[in-house]
Subunit: 544 residues, 2 copies
């Protein structure tokens, strides 16, 4: 039975019919205490979901759904190391990556010796670089580290490097290259000195097209600029589960860091995939990041559903998606340093749960992951918030801000927070026609002008949002925040009956690309392709 | 009568009922010629919409809708300078900004003398800076230009600066600061030399909170670092429609560049708002950008609807949104240099048409602007494309690529284009259960494994997309591309009966922020605020 066929689901559907379009204005009027009762906190994170379109009664029913969907059992199975990634027959153990002792998940299948040994090797490598003791082929200290990876081998470390850039090494710079488009790598190379540049090639299989092509271009650039006889291995490190391929590329074994099949790319920033991040912020801050995530893991594992942040956050998403009918979910950080968080969460959520077939191969029978999108909130106010306020579309939002700035300037932080809170409030409560009329009359606007403008100045409100208010962007808080979203995704996957840890949907495009590429060199191969692709290829061949 | 009540709308609704879920596989099988017939080109842009879920018959009905909605009349009225921004009683003349001669819109209301004079002043100012002849208070040449603006005073110039960065001045650097968060401006200032830095403060009203606070911080930084008695005016320029306020801030009149009330922020990159861009790429390339846009304007004004790129693009969006029911629209550039295009289009589309009240104040009666979102396509493949392929949500996509790279590297560009074309093809045609079975059997996968995995490896396909294939990222092509989207938005606004040129939805949040800010200093003021805001403020005050 799919979870949508459960009594708990039916009870929520009935509750929704009764709840209807009940307005947040009325919900706050009817329950003056809801800001306190509909919020949770964990360490330095306040999660205020009082401006979601639900009541305590809704939450109780949602917790019932989580129980009916065996969410507690799913959590236990993940932490016990069962093979919950069923289509790939693998355990899912990214939580091991932020542990500091073993055995885990149990004495028989303990992964902690590998995890801790690798983390120790990473720390040693990072410390050498940070101390200026790692030298290129000409004996000069490395000053620039370029992470070459894409998807999970890029977004996580890049996002956290930006989030914690206030802690970055003062002179050693870390860069991220992912795109096949030469317009990313080529201009970067123009700014780098090959004698002092190290490339970290990150690919689980060490066959990822984008990564291997960028790595090959990096090698050519080094060879062309360092002279033919030098030891290029001093300019490379690698992260892969296929060390023999990294060795064949020319990376010395002591610079190849393993990853394992029990961690998916989008959950891997805590592993050696985070090497560039560790180099940027140092092993100590990296450990703090892990410890924050580990404490969130423990909260997730041990806290009753109704007070469990990832569970409640996941359930709110299910309510918005499956009962209120939201097609999208906006992520709006009010921290410049979190500017890559929306892209990171796009992958985390949409690659994990953007599926319509359940673990057992049956259709899910309900909507699953919404489109996750967003931008820095303050910038969004001056761009697309118009639609959130008056576009008539339901768009649940996560507002994320920190109390203390990581780069304080006089007057900026309180103004920033005022805007963040004001937007959540304006979205929730809106402005009625009566309120617009009153305020225009107070401004002595002429009656005929009021009549013309009034409908344009009404705000329907009732746009739901949660606010995640962090004390600061400390490594531990950033770690906890990411783990919170990871587990939220897991909860939703469990409720939708999805395996959140595979990604079969990326295969077809890769296969098609490999059929199209040869047709650039040999146009006769185009005849096997579809008519549109043939036309696009023909356009490429036109003389300009 | 709203346009949704027209016969043309009803005819489309009937056509849609008949059309149903007809699959792109079948559409291509039934009409082998559709790649040619369902594409248009304009100069160096190929617009292939053959992978949209429509036929020539659909297009004919859509053109009928455009006629019924008086789109040709709307176009004429805009170019004639009528006050089509009805709520603000203004003409809409951004097209004037890319003209090179007058009179326009007519001899009586000619704006071209102001436009051309301002463009000439901009060019002179830019050339001086580019030649190293503009000096700071200590007599040193300016090396860094910081554009301080937000929304339309940021996204357009920033997006095009990135798009045309291959043409950027080799040593003079342009930066963009928008966010209230000090974490944007403060780390930038750490990298700049105050003696050689110029700030351009861009705000139509010269009261925008974010911009004025960042400008004030910049002034304090200059004062603290340049000494008390120097002439700070040599480090500032301004773009505003309120020159007296810029003067009061301390900008010399010869460095204040005007904008006018007939151009909205999101349409203003062609004006003095583009000053930082002009400084980056030079007046000649800036002129080429304008000329490309001007030629697209002429195409839009003079081409019959069925062959008119912005009209057809707009109509396809209406078909997807209002008849197929798409809630979002993805923009997926396969050019690293177009990485800010999704953010730019978010503003352009969502701020223009994210409204549910028509020009006359009545409810629109149909869905309007979808959520516009996106990322660099190649990166998206390794992140969220899973959902596009198998998530079960209809997401129309614009794929944008250029044949020639702006930063060519051996082997990169053809691999990149192969991926772009492959994704559009995989999304459109998918992979059936039979095809999956065949391919797994060919790989000798065991029958029980085929049974288990098959449903996960099926791709439903029928995900519609358009491909915009550019010959290269030349200034003229980039200008034409932006004008194409601008006019597409205009067409959709006309069909939905919306005034695309106001933005009343940004007002309420601003007003609320100004009520919340004083409560940081005086907690007693919080009592007038809603319960959630009070709780958030209380959390901010907690000792950490």
């Amino acid at each position: 039975m799919t979870n949508t066929a459960s009594h708990a689901w039916a009870a929520l559907a009935a509750h929704h019919r009764e709840f209807g379009e009940k307005h947040l204005r009325d919900l706050f009027r009817d329950d003056p205490d809801r800001a306190a009762s509909l919020s949770l906190s964990f360490e330095d994170i306040l999660f205020d979901f009082s401006k979601q379109r639900l009541t305590q009664g809704t939450l109780d029913l949602l917790v019932g759904l989580a129980e009916a969907a065996s969410v507690p059992e799913a959590i236990r199975r993940m932490f016990d190391g069962e093979r919950i990634n069923t289509t790939e027959k693998r355990s899912v153990l990214h939580v091991a990556l932020r542990r500091f002792s073993g055995p885990f998940p149990d004495a028989r299948t303990d992964v902690m010796p590998d995890v801790l040994a690798t983390r120790g090797r990473m720390a040693k490598f990072a410390e050498q670089l940070r101390a200026g003791k790692s030298q290129g082929a000409h004996g000069m200290a490395i000053h620039d580290v370029v992470n070459i990876g894409i998807g999970g081998s890029d977004l996580g470390p890049k996002m956290v490097s930006q989030a914690l850039r206030a802690l970055a090494h003062p002179t050693l710079k870390v860069h991220y290259v992912s795109n096949l488009d030469g317009a990313q790598l080529a201009p970067l190379l123009q700014t780098l000195d090959p004698r002092t540049t190290l490339f970290i090639v990150v690919s689980k299989t060490f066959t990822t097209q984008e990564t291997m092509l960028n790595a090959e271009t990096a090698r050519q650039w080094l060879r062309a600029n360092l002279g033919g006889e030098v030891d290029l291995a001093r300019h490379f490190a690698a992260v892969s589960s296929r060390p023999e391929r990294a060795a064949a590329f020319g990376v010395g074994p002591e610079r190849v860091f393993p990853i394992w099949d029990w961690v998916g790319g989008r959950y891997s920033l805590w592993s050696a995939v985070g090497l560039a991040l560790m180099i940027a912020i140092g092993p100590h801050a990296f450990d703090e990041l892990l410890r924050g995530a580990e404490r969130m893991d423990e909260h997730f594992r041990a806290t009753p559903l109704a007070r469990n942040l990832p569970v409640v956050m996941g359930l709110i998403g299910v309510w918005n998606t499956n009962f209120l009918g939201a097609a999208t979910h906006a992520v709006l950080p009010y921290n410049e340093s979190l500017k890559y968080l929306p892209s990171f969460l796009q992958q985390l959520e949409m690659e994990s749960n953007g599926k319509s077939v359940g673990s057992a191969g049956d259709p899910v029978g309900s909507a699953t992951c919404p489109i996750v999108w967003g931008e820095l909130g303050n910038n969004g106010q001056h761009a697309f918030f118009q639609l959130l306020h008056q576009g008539g579309r339901l768009v649940p939002c996560d507002f994320i801000a920190s109390v203390r700035s990581d780069y304080p300037l006089p007057g900026h932080q309180e103004a920033l927070l005022s805007n963040c809170f004001a937007q959540t409030s304006a979205l929730a409560f809106g402005k009625t026609a009566e309120e617009v009329r009153e305020s225009m009359e107070r401004e002595n606007v002429a009656p005929e002008e009021i009549a013309g403008l009034l409908p344009h100045r009404v705000f329907a409100g009732n746009q739901p949002s949660s606010t995640l208010l962090l004390k600061s962007l400390s490594p531990a808080t950033v770690g906890a925040l990411i783990a919170l979203y990871e587990h939220k995704v897991f909860v939703q996957g469990a409720i939708w009956g999805i395996n959140s840890f595979d990604q079969w949907g990326v295969e077809l495009g890769k296969a098609m690309a490999s059929r199209i590429l040869p047709a650039f060199a040999d146009p006769s191969l185009a005849s096997a392709l579809d008519a549109s692709t043939r036309a696009l290829l023909a356009y490429c061949r036109r003389p300009s």
